[in-house]
């Protein structure tokens, strides 16, 4: 982060992330909000890349941009009449909301500032996917297989929920 280039990229994508997140929350059109979420997710992927977590960036793009967002957009498009009404984002409970967000902000800032972030010299800069793969296949092979069971349960559960009641 010494040179100017990464700095510019960081701030540009930070601005994009915050701006699109603002549209997600305050947008009057649900479809537009859903598509703004794409920019938010994508900016997060850029930050992962800048931190050297290339596998995580790929996961972010594939699962969040490619999967979750598709689900969300479909959810919006499938829902009858929801996008025709103009969404009124009402503001209420201003004081409690402000207090809670301020508290979260203070807690997060305290954690960020006070944690002694140590940089391990052992981890070299480079592709992380083979390291993760080796760990998954040796030490963490059981969690890897259990993850497949979890996915199986999720698949069966999702299919069960969308099935019509009579088919149960």
């Amino acid at each position: 982060m010494e040179t100017l280039g990464p700095q510019i990229i960081f701030w540009a994508f930070a601005a994009l992330m915050l701006g699109s997140a603002f549209i997600v929350v305050h947008g009057k059109n649900l479809v537009r909000s859903a598509f703004s979420l794409l920019a938010t997710f994508f900016s997060a992927a850029v930050f992962y890349v800048m931190l050297g977590a290339d596998f995580l960036a790929g996961v972010q793009l594939l699962v969040y941009v490619g999967g979750i967002l598709t689900l969300l957009v479909f959810g919006v498009m499938l829902t009858n009449r929801i996008y025709n009404l103009n969404l009124e984002t009402q503001t209420f409970q201003v004081l409690p909301g402000a207090l809670v967000s301020l508290a979260v902000f203070v807690i997060l800032t305290t954690v960020v500032v006070r944690t002694p972030w140590s940089q391990s010299a052992l981890i070299e800069d480079g592709p992380t996917t083979p390291i993760i793969g080796r760990a998954l296949m040796t030490e963490y092979v059981l969690p890897f297989e259990i993850a497949s069971v979890l996915l199986l349960v999720a698949l069966l559960g999702a299919a069960m929920l969308v099935r019509r009641r009579t088919d149960l």
Binding site: P6, I9, N29, V31, V49, M50, G52, F55, G58, V59, L62, V63, G66, G67, I68, T70, L71, F74, G75, M77, L78, N80, R81, Y83, N84, D125, T129, P130, I132, G133, R134, L136, M137, T138, V141, F144, E145, A147, S148, V149, L151, L152, A154, L155, L156, A158, A159, V162, R163, D167
Partner: protein, 136 residues
């Protein structure tokens, strides 16, 4: 990280190209809209409702849900595939157990007819409909 500069430049070039194309066509193209021209294009059909209000069939949702599961599966398999050659048979077996679990799920969803576009009972209803009409 330096290898991602290429990705960034590619993105920037893509965004620039799209922006330039719309800007230039906006500046150069003649502009005299009529009501018909402003209608959403629906392959010659008269559009119904607002362009935001495209109603998708609810059945797409099942496919998206199943897709999401297999999306996560693909993500989990990427690190496995990268080191497969290096680790050999045990990793191959572990990976196939993983895939087998999801195939089991797919088989169940398939068997229960969630992937059918026209469901079994509707197909039966379509076949019997003319008979019922005659009887009525």
């Amino acid at each position: 990280m330096i290898e991602y500069v290429g990705v960034l430049m590619f993105l920037a070039a893509g965004a620039l190209l799209a922006a330039a194309a719309t800007t230039v066509s906006g500046l150069v193209a003649p502009h005299n809209p009529t009501r018909e021209k402003l209608m959403p294009y629906e392959c010659g059909e008269n559009p119904v409702g607002s362009p935001w209000g495209v109603q998708f069939n609810i059945r797409f949702y099942v496919f998206v849900l199943v897709f999401l599961i297999f999306d996560v599966e693909a993500v989990m398999l990427v690190p496995w595939a990268v080191v497969l050659k290096e680790l050999g048979t045990p990793a191959l077996i572990a990976g196939f157990i993983f895939i087998g679990m999801l195939v089991l799920g797919l088989a169940d969803v398939w068997r229960k007819g969630d992937l059918e576009w026209v469901r079994e009972e509707e197909r039966a209803a379509l076949k019997t409909a003319p008979k019922n009409a005659k009887a009525a």
